[in-house]
């Protein structure tokens, strides 16, 4: 790691003030950021530690509203019986991070804002991984883990296990910045960068994620992740679904794919197809097909289209409590 300064603010305001300066980066659990610094991927002059900032950690279940502080660790969330009972799919998403060490260190905010694991990005070729003459290293190189829904030049995938679920739920992100607090759908935290300067999240300089808030009442959610190993391993594909309305009909269905696109990928058509429908193996299969419509796999990741279909089918099956 290059040399850097370190500040440990006590309050959100202090943290925001420190992060507004160029070259400052928020340090949460550090499980991702330290690797980025070791690999010299992102230049950082100062780390602003959030570990001691008051008010960023904790879990509140208030009627149907679940609030999770950004500095809550994955393990704390997993151990919160109330939150897990209200949203069992959380357990699936968190257990997928099959390392107690990462769950104890990694935070909810860090999980949502972790940087892409794309091997070109991590080797210093940039988020878009373009050659000097503007060709895509991803399409010409090895793209087995890359997007099946690329967005312009962005072909990496969003790695977060929590993001698809929170997006499916329609959760809100609470963001603090120099201008105070703003709230936005978790979905809107993400973007597909199109220039070398842009990041894959929409936080402005000085902004921190304070937490997320979701309405977990009156819906059924499920997550299905395809992993090769049972030990610590990234999903090859993930699907999160939220069904609202009483069974067997789904008044509304939200289907979101992870590891499919540079952002959590909302499969809107698939969700629409199911809305107002009874879930049967036929409607579920149709939704799974719709979820991958328009996929543009590359030379080495065609198999992920099949994985996406399967993940959607199985997530829907779990949410509806049926054998698919």
């Amino acid at each position: 790691m290059r040399p850097f300064g370190y500040a440990a603010p006590a309050t959100v305001q202090q943290a925001v003030g420190l992060l507004a300066a160029e070259g400052s980066e928020a340090l949460a659990g550090g499980t991702d950021l330290l690797s980025l610094l070791k690999d010299d991927v992102e230049p950082v002059d100062r780390l602003v530690a959030l570990r001691g900032v008051a008010g960023l950690s904790g879990i509140e279940l208030d009627g149907g509203t679940l609030r999770i502080g950004a500095m809550t660790t994955l393990q704390e969330l997993r151990d919160h019986d109330g939150a897990i009972a209200a949203l069992p799919a959380l357990a699936v998403a968190i257990d997928g991070v099959a390392s107690p060490q990462l769950r104890e260190m990694g935070t909810v905010g860090g999980d949502l804002l972790q940087r892409p694991r794309c091997w070109y990005y991590r080797r210093g070729f940039g988020l878009l991984a373009l050659t000097a003459d503007g060709r895509s290293m991803v399409t010409e190189g090895d793209n087995r883990y890359h997007a099946i829904f690329p967005a312009g030049q962005a072909r990496f995938v969003n790695p977060s296990s929590l993001a698809p679920l929170l997006v499916a739920l329609g959760a809100e992100a609470v963001v603090h910045g120099p201008a105070g607090e703003r709230r936005l759908p978790v979905e809107a935290l993400y973007q597909a960068p199109q220039t070398a300067e842009e990041r894959e999240n929409t936080l402005a300089p000085g902004e921190i994620l304070a937490g997320v808030e979701a309405n977990v009442a009156g819906s059924r959610s499920a997550v299905y992740e395809v992993r090769q190993r049972r030990s610590l391993d990234w999903p090859l594909m993930a699907a999160a679904v939220t069904l609202t309305g009483s069974e067997p009909r789904a008044e509304k269905a939200r289907i979101v794919l992870g590891h499919a696109a540079p952002t959590p990928h909302v499969a809107a058509a698939a969700g629409d197809l199911l809305s107002g429908q009874e879930l049967t193996s036929e409607t579920v299969a149709a939704a799974a097909d719709a979820a991958v419509e328009g996929a543009q796999p590359m030379s080495g990741n065609r198999y992920k289209v099949q994985l996406a279909r399967t993940a959607v089918r199985r997530a829907l099956g779990h949410a509806a409590g049926m054998e698919i």
């Binding site: 040399p3 010299d40 080797r123 190189g141 090895d142 090769q228 049972r230 990741n301 099949q306 089918r313």
Partner: protein, 709 residues
């Protein structure tokens, strides 16, 4: 003249027992100091700058900024201007500094301009390989005629990519000079041979180079030489006048410090109506990085197959040269052969075990394999559980069973061991061997204890230092045979000397005496005896010290083993994910010294085998020429919960014991790739032609059959 032998089965106290490894407590408490744990006073840290291009020429290199940095002690150019680099990760310069962080800062300050040259890193498609070299054709019998009249023929193109040794302790060493004397704490498999190699490169007499390796964190065939970083580390230490620690970073470890060659082949094999193999034709190719690769031994095990033709092409790539990887060439040959035979069995409508049994006369050890196949089948409940391909269960998850057989040599290497008996009864062995995790320390102690009739804690073993008598590098399963034979010979000789001193006191001839259970007594009349302490006291004031050697007289060791493995898998045909349910290994290795450690070797082989069967591969980037997974995140090892339930059966007793000691490090890692691939084929009804069996490859194979995807 005295002869050397192992005690009869009913007289063995130590040999064949299951004592715990002696260094278990220091390892499990973290007290064991590995070479990379050494922190001598005044230590400097060194780091190596590597080339990011797979093929390039160094146009300019400027180290002035690095040299000017505070805390930097030495900057050393390894490959200067004009050098041609042939693989990404090759060493360009090195820095020694007060801390690792400062050394890394200095590396970033070194400016190198490269002229980037074209590279080639993906050898699967050999037609596009520049510099492919045909290794010629070998033929026996008349394969063309045999194929023409055969009952059934299969043709397959199969392969497995290069993979990494991935030693958890990276390659490297701590070098300290005292005048012209060099001490090296090295993570090595070759304590006794390293000094000479350091000496030649550094221009000092080998007698002035000391190598120490009390513990080391894994080698698997990749840690036999000082390597360039060893010599550079010593040079840095000499220039700095301070000890220098230089261990590779993980990405370097994966990229340059050890890989297994790839192997691909187009194979035809045929059988007659009785299910007898009649013809073989293989056209193989592969790469071990820049040097290419030699021919894999095809057909494997069934090497007496009558009509056969083999061709091989070596494909050099712009990747670091491969190293010996546990059973060099055998896992590849085994997979290529056993997969084709398994498909042929299916074509013939035969149970694969039945098919193998019909052809055992084509192998070197038919009786061993027949016995082992029977035991393995029994353990797997093969008869009840095996079903022909294509009988699918309901649902996405399919089950399958697969079998494979393998062989290995494993003769003990050259070894010398000093055994000393002190007048107070203390017994020690000194041997220039190393314990790379296989339990060498424990096994030598068992041989000592057995010979002198003592308990393990009453003997002492010193190894891991080249001041002790030369013993061979730990490779090729040669250590256990080498060290047990040299130790046994020395111990038997030393004991005889002791007995000569004790005999008058017991009014017996030395040949009549036995050393057992902590006593020396007359054979047949145990009341006429003395304690070991008293016996040793008879030798007088000076200790007895004897050197034993291997090779030598007496039938202590042998070579040539057989093994059978069965895998049971579950395949999710909607995701292509393969999960191991169960692995069964039946293995012989002659006389077993320590059952527990022997079993551990076999378990370890199975586990590593699951790794390369399902997960492990080097992923070189065609665009940049760099490895894309030079880490432990996308270079995936099997985890504890990925290997299923493991069962091992060691062949022992008559027929095995009297052969003497044979090595075991390599054999159990040979078959898993084949057995698992065959189990997957059995589960899904179609061959997945490439290892590792990743979901993309499994789904591709299923799609070829018209399945999903």
């Amino acid at each position: 003249m005295a002869d050397y032998s192992w005690p009869e089965a009913d007289r063995r106290a130590q040999i064949g027992a299951r004592p715990a490894r002696l260094d278990g407590p220091v390892k499990s408490t973290g007290f064991a100091k590995y070479p990379s744990d050494q922190n001598p006073r005044g230590l400097l840290a060194a780091k190596i700058l590597t080339c990011p291009h797979a093929h390039a020429r160094i146009v300019r290199i400027d180290t002035s900024a690095a040299e000017a940095m505070a805390g930097v002690r030495v900057v050393h150019v390894i490959q200067g201007e004009g050098s041609e680099i042939q693989w990404a990760g090759d060493e360009v310069a090195a820095v020694a500094a007060v801390t690792e962080d400062v050394a890394r800062d200095a590396l970033r300050a070194i400016q190198v301009d490269y002229e980037v040259l074209p590279h080639f890193v993906t050898e699967e498609d050999r037609d596009q390989a520049p510099g492919a070299r045909e290794a010629g054709e070998r033929a026996e019998g008349d394969p063309d005629a045999a194929f023409a009249t055969a009952h059934r023929t299969v043709e397959r193109t199969l392969g497995m990519p290069q993979m990494a040794h991935m030693c958890l302790e990276p390659h490297g060493q701590v070098c300290s000079w005292d005048g012209d004397e060099l001490e090296v704490d090295a993570s090595t498999q070759a304590v006794s041979t390293l000094a000479g190699q350091f000496a030649t490169e550094l221009g000092v007499p080998a007698s002035q180079v000391r190598i120490r390796t009390e513990y080391m964190g894994g080698g698997f065939g990749s840690k036999f030489s000082p390597d360039r970083w060893g010599i550079v580390g010593a040079e840095l230490a000499r220039k700095a006048g301070a000890p220098v620690k230089l261990f590779l970073e993980r990405d370097q470890e994966v990229t340059v410090a050890g890989s297994r060659p790839s192997a691909f082949a187009r194979i035809r094999a045929a059988a007659d109506e009785q299910g007898k193999l009649v013809a073989w034709d293989s056209d193989s190719w592969g790469s071990g990085g820049l040097p290419g690769t030699g021919q894999t031994p095809l057909p494997y095990v069934f090497s007496r197959l009558p009509n056969r033709r083999t061709r091989h092409t070596s494909v050099p790539t712009n990747l670091a040269g491969s190293r010996a990887w546990r059973a060099p060439n055998h896992p590849q040959a085994c997979f290529l052969t056993m997969a084709v035979l398994d498909d042929l069995a299916d074509e013939l409508g035969l149970d694969p075990i039945d098919f193998l049994e019909r052809n055992l006369d084509l192998t070197g050890r038919p009786d061993t394999y027949r016995e082992q196949l029977g035991i393995a089948a029994e353990m797997a409940s093969w008869k009840e559980r095996w079903q022909p391909r294509g009988r699918e269960r309901e649902g996405a998850v399919q089950r399958g069973l697969g079998v494979s057989v393998h062989t290995w040599g494993g003769r003990g290497h050259s070894s010398n061991c000093d055994v000393t008996v002190h007048p107070d009864g203390a017994v020690e062995a000194r041997i220039g061997s190393q314990d790379i995790g296989t339990g060498t320390r424990t096994i030598v102690a068992q041989v000592l204890a057995e010979t002198f009739g003592l308990e393990l804690h009453q003997v002492r073993v010193s190894l891991g230092d080249n001041v002790y008598p030369q013993s061979g590098p730990s490779g090729g399963s040669s250590t256990v045979g080498g060290v047990t034979a040299s130790t046994r010979r020395a111990a038997q000789d030393a004991l005889r000397e002791v007995l000569v001193h004790v005999a008058p006191r017991l009014e017996a001839e030395p040949e009549q005496l036995l050393a057992e259970g902590g006593r020396v007594f007359v054979d047949g009349d145990s009341s006429r005896g003395v304690s070991w302490r008293e016996a040793a006291a008879q030798i007088g004031g000076a200790p007895i010290s004897v050197q034993g050697r291997n090779p030598g007289r007496g039938r202590l060791i042998s070579s040539g083993v057989g093994g059978v493995q069965i895998a049971e898998v579950e395949v999710d045909i909607d995701t292509g994910v393969v999960h191991i349910e169960r692995m069964i290994a039946v293995q012989d290795c002659g006389l077993i010294i320590n059952r527990r450690l022997a079993e551990s070797q076999v378990y370890g082989g199975l586990i590593m085998g699951v790794g390369y069967a399902l997960y492990e591969e080097w992923i070189p980037d065609p665009v940049s020429g760099r490895l894309l997974n030079a880490d432990m995140e996308f270079y995936k090892l099997a985890g504890l919960v990925d290997v299923g339930s493991l069962e091992v059966h060691m062949m022992t007793g008559p027929g095995y014991d009297e052969r003497g000691v044979i090595g075991l490090g390599e054999p159990p890692v040979i078959s898993p790739g084949a057995a698992i691939s065959n189990a997957v084929a059995n589960a899904i009804g179609v061959r997945v032609p490439y290892l590792p069996l990743t979901p993309d490859r499994v789904l591709d194979a299923l799609a070829g059959r018209g399945g999903p995807a």
